[in-house]
Symmetry: none
Subunit: 420 residues, 2 copies
């Protein structure tokens, strides 16, 4: 089954935004076993979109489009696909009701433009948008299958998972299954070297690595006539990966993030947690609170950006700040010590560092971050040197903080178990 | 002058990496006044690249390619472009010497593969690569102008600035300038309705709207023989937009975000700020701390996810939590009151709500969020109803919190000024 991706939007053509939708869709298609040989970006322009549709329809069976479903005159993806497939646009009552509801919930009235979003090509399959007002569509015609998705990533992701993935799975005679083995704390080349032999002899299942911030995911994909058959092929390879990487693997489930893995570990060990952050500014807490139901174990967080806040809220000593500075192993240690004293939780994480672009010196350059973890009084401090801009340093710090907490809790548990 | 961008690489097609090169090139081309109507991604595959070149050469005068210039067998961009243009590959002595030097400087010997990088289509213009070994090329032929650039962004950026921008400038007589007017608190369709007359009569400058979470950006773009001439065309339109949208515009500068605008407003008014967050879990603080240099005015943040933390850290009354619940206007008010008492800052923001997926009831559904702002004792509480998943509700809450803080501070300042 051959697919291609067309992203519609003048803001993409002008380079105002980076095309993350294409990468996201491509990765999901690959995961579903759908081959994708082309990605095209075209502006909100009828003639050029028609031309692009013509080229795509000749060489691919499934064409995924993102963007251009908004309420404005600019947005013309749906109208142009309908024209290309020779379909009329008709009002979809369910979409109309959804738009009405959406605006009512915000105490606003839809404008005339908004009703345009409820118009769909006749006979299409309408895909609900639970993160916005523009419905998605699957248009099946003599020209091919066109899947229209909204441009905003959070709308596109949810709609793809809820509606498009099941649709594509149903089209393919073969079942493609994949499982992701997620590691943290290793570089991509280190991971690749450890599985070079498995990569070299791959056929079915295939095996591939993907680098994320601080993490490397190994995706194992197998095809078979049934899910059971494909699953049987995957199982021994995942087992082998578990043998090779041990505790560096934090999950073998696609939907489990690092923060979710940490939360699960804390829940099973009945440990509560709190955070104190300087340069990450609340991002470690915000990431942990990504996990639904975290309120059972996450108790409180402090953003102690100023020295005064570090002293007042966490009891960091004035002398420590003066002698070693706010970005130091000593301050990180006192932060996490004070944190547990204040919150009475079992585990604490603290972060202090220089995210840049200013504030770096020769001794303490931008990217220097100290992360500390306190598990019931046992404190571990890690010095990290991250590369990249402010955003990248902060993201790297969050991942490193979650990883440190995970390894400290694992160590604590191994001793508790051993002691029993 | 019409150009298009072709990015070559299987890692792009599989979604392993995001295509930042296309966005970067597109933005630079727009800045140089070169129209770019298409971007295509194709894998390292001779047939499909030939097909893509054929399509591009028919509709564009300049074709920029990135990627596929590496030393391995996979890399075939140069070979395929040469084939397409019917040019032989010949050894470029300067490139050969550069490769020799590059490896010598690192104490390494080039492998046989590396010499492949010094082969170029006969008669082309070779572009030096000061960040790597693969030279770039400009191939001018009866089929069109092809500009070949390396895939690694730091090599591509430098080569573009050093060699490609001057080459394109020499080809084109025009300059394109654009400016972005950013509004918050209005829907995209509401913005469009207010500027329908301007959109309808647009030619040079052009005007277009882009929706972001809680924000709508209006981009004004003009072309002229000089930057001064283009600037003169933009200025009156931006002034007109300022008249129409007033305080709903938070900036007219491309690089200023909502958090930066709030930070600038606070700085100019010499006001300090702090945050107390429940459902956003630190994301308001983290967003504010995106702004470099924020430490002057951002003092501290609390993530009071549990009721206990709300009581202990912010002094929310037990009775209030019992009678009205943690997600209530009353709790939001007490949070932000306690926040200022604790931090002694001038401005405080507090957020409490139900991000979901669990925790919603009929009376208090998922998406119900109370946001409060305290400016020197004057408290404003806003009730919001957001749709979407946990992530979307939290993102919407952050934007709404920044907007509320901005409008409360503006109101405070208008009274202070008025009172003087």
């Amino acid at each position: 089954m051959k697919a291609e991706i067309i992203c519609v939007g003048t803001e993409l053509l002008l380079g105002n935004i980076v095309n993350t939708n294409a990468a996201w869709l491509a990765e999901r298609l690959a995961g579903l076993g759908v081959s994708c040989f082309y990605q095209t970006v075209v502006g909100d322009n009828r003639e050029r979109l028609l031309e692009t549709l013509g080229i795509a329809a000749k060489r691919s069976e499934i064409i995924l489009l993102s963007g251009g479903l908004g309420p404005t005159q600019d947005d013309m993806t749906k109208e142009t696909v309908a024209e290309f497939c020779k379909k009329k646009l008709v009002m979809d009552d369910k979409s109309r009701a959804h738009i009405e509801e959406y605006f009512a919930a915000r105490g606003m009235k839809p404008s005339e433009n908004n009703w345009k979003q409820a118009m769909v090509p006749e006979g299409c399959r309408v895909l609900d948008n639970h993160n916005g007002t523009a419905p998605g569509m699957v248009v099946e015609s003599a020209k091919g299958r066109f899947i229209l998705l909204p441009g905003p990533p959070e709308e596109l992701h949810l709609m793809f998972e809820e509606s498009v993935a099941p649709y594509l799975k149903a089209l393919s005679p073969n079942v493609i299954l994949s499982q992701t083995v997620k590691t943290c704390g290793l570089s991509e080349s280190a991971v690749e070297e450890q599985i070079r032999d498995l990569i070299d002899k791959q056929s079915n299942p295939t095996i591939a690595t993907y680098a994320k911030t601080g993490e490397v995911h190994i995706r194992v994909t197998a095809g078979g006539e049934t899910a059971k058959e494909a699953g049987k092929l995957i199982k021994p390879l995942v087992k082998e990966l578990k043998n090779r990487f041990g505790n560096d693997i934090y999950t073998t489930e696609d939907e489990v993030t690092l923060e979710k893995a940490l939360a699960d570990l804390l829940t099973s060990a009945e440990l509560t947690i709190s955070c104190a952050e300087s340069c990450t500014g609340g991002l470690v807490s915000a990431t942990l609170i990504n996990v639904p139901g975290i309120s059972e174990l996450y108790k409180a967080g402090f953003v102690t950006y100023s020295n005064k806040a570090k002293r007042r809220l966490l009891g960091v000593k004035k002398g420590t700040l003066q002698k070693y500075g706010a970005v130091s192993s000593q301050t990180a240690e006192e932060m996490v010590k004070g944190l547990l004293a204040e919150t009475k939780t079992d585990v604490g994480i603290a972060v202090t560092g220089i995210a840049g672009p200013d504030g770096g010196t020769k001794e303490k350059p931008v990217g220097l971050v100290y992360i500390s973890c306190n598990v019931k009084g046992k404190i571990t401090v890690k010095e990290c040197h991250f590369k990249g801009d402010r955003e990248k340093v902060r993201r790297s710090s969050v991942t490193a903080a979650l990883m440190l907490a995970r390894s400290c809790v694992l160590e604590y548990l191994s001793k508790v178990t051993f002691g029993k």
